[in-house]
Symmetry: C2
Subunit: 225 residues, 2 copies
DNA sequence: TCATACACACTACCATGGTAGTATGTCAAC
DNA sequence: GTTGACATACTACCATGGTAGTGTGTATGA
């Protein structure tokens, strides 16, 4: 299930990355046990780098470490997801408000390319590709605004929403809605309408939250607390 | 300099806590080396928990780990401090806006006590106590708003400002200004004036940033990049 | 005098062994 | 059948040894 690591590069970050991906894509389900020993064997490494990866994941709220008992994939806590949404909204609204009217021409050009690719992905029904472009879209807003740390924060809190989004049910017209919102946000940023940009970003992120809440009804087994 | 740890409790978090405090209080200065080996000896523990603490501190941007070379207290990067301020402002403004008019009576009572203590600390010129009460004031806003994770984020980005604030020059009337701003924010929260509360919080946090910028001029040796 | 090769001391990094603490299953006593 | 004590099999946690990579000083060459 987990392929051996690349020995030419630092091991601990590699393990962190794989586990994070496994958790956010729900390859590892909530409350599943994560033994240092087992993981080390599966990956063909020692327990030390595994342990370090687990600690990082625990800091980010993706796993729960119970001392002398075990480590487990954290349940999806609706309160955590809702607060993640709150944090994202506060930050990203401020980001686009700051960015509005100040995007470089290179940024504008790259944004248009990204949105075109999003449209293509939607047309082809390629959900996974769309989510990837989605992530790139939001990241580029932070980077262009000169706010890399903000993106880091967003990325971490976003993890809580990601693993539900990943499996969220294919609803007709949903991707189209998200794409249209992206386009609207980008337009407001491009023309410098700061307030509009912020309002549209807020509406967009609330749409994402609704996805999660629907899933809470459809798959209560994934949720906890 | 560093006292031995308490063996009855998990060691790694203890070390993290001590190093964090040492860095934010400038007991350890920027660019100072932090050797796993040395720290382990000083603390009377092995290198493993020290290493885990260093990794956490690196994640939070307080130290820089250069593979196979060493770990060093991170310089104060003005760009980091400015972005920390941006993040705090975005979050805390949203927090007080959400909280305004919804504080419980217990919260209001506790807030008044805290502000009275702040006033006493200011009157007595007890800077350290004031900073502690200041932290408690901001934390209580997040907690009462039901946003513990937000406080965690704020706490982490705040670290960047803390170590400069800690040594920042005693300016006549500065603490009085901060206290007055706290009172004004609290009033707006109490009476439910959400917009006012947000605006006052923004002004307050910008005042804090100015402190840092003054210090950049006075003590350029602490800054880097 | 200056440039270059090289030995050495140092680092973070990973592997591995040992320990205290927790849960679980088994068996005896009631 | 129920409850309690106890052995056992896990766990995370810390200690320690070994290794590859990096910087620095030193000797050797021109």
């Amino acid at each position: 299930m987990l392929e051996p690591v690349n020995n030419r590069m630092p091991i601990s970050p590699q393990i962190y990355e794989r586990l994070r991906r496994a958790i956010t894509t729900l390859a590892m389900l909530p409350s599943e046990a994560l033994s240092e020993q087992d993981l080390a064997q599966q990956l063909g490494v020692s327990r030390t780098p595994v342990r370090e990866a687990l600690i990082r994941l625990a800091d980010e709220g993706l796993i729960d470490i119970l001392p002398q008992r075990g480590s487990f994939v954290a349940p999806i806590r609706l309160s955590d997801v809702e607060e993640a949404q709150f944090i994202r909204e506060a930050l990203e609204v401020s980001v686009v408000q700051k960015l509005a009217g100040h995007g470089s021409s290179a940024f504008i050009a790259a944004g248009r390319v990204n949105l075109a690719q999003q449209a293509k992905a939607v047309a082809e029904g390629d959900r996974e590709l769309f989510l990837e472009l989605d992530e790139g879209f939001h990241r580029s807003l932070c980077e262009e605004a000169g706010l890399p740390k903000s993106w880091r924060v967003i990325q971490v809190v976003k993890l809580q929403m990601d693993r539900v989004r990943y499996l969220s049910l294919p609803e007709p017209g949903h991707l189209e809605t998200l794409l249209a919102q992206h386009v609207a946000i980008f337009e407001a940023v491009e023309t410098g309408e700061a307030k509009q940009a912020g309002a549209r970003m807020a509406a967009h992120l609330r749409e994402v939250l609704r996805t999660v809440q629907r899933l809470n009804v459809a798959r209560p087994d994934l949720f906890g607390q």
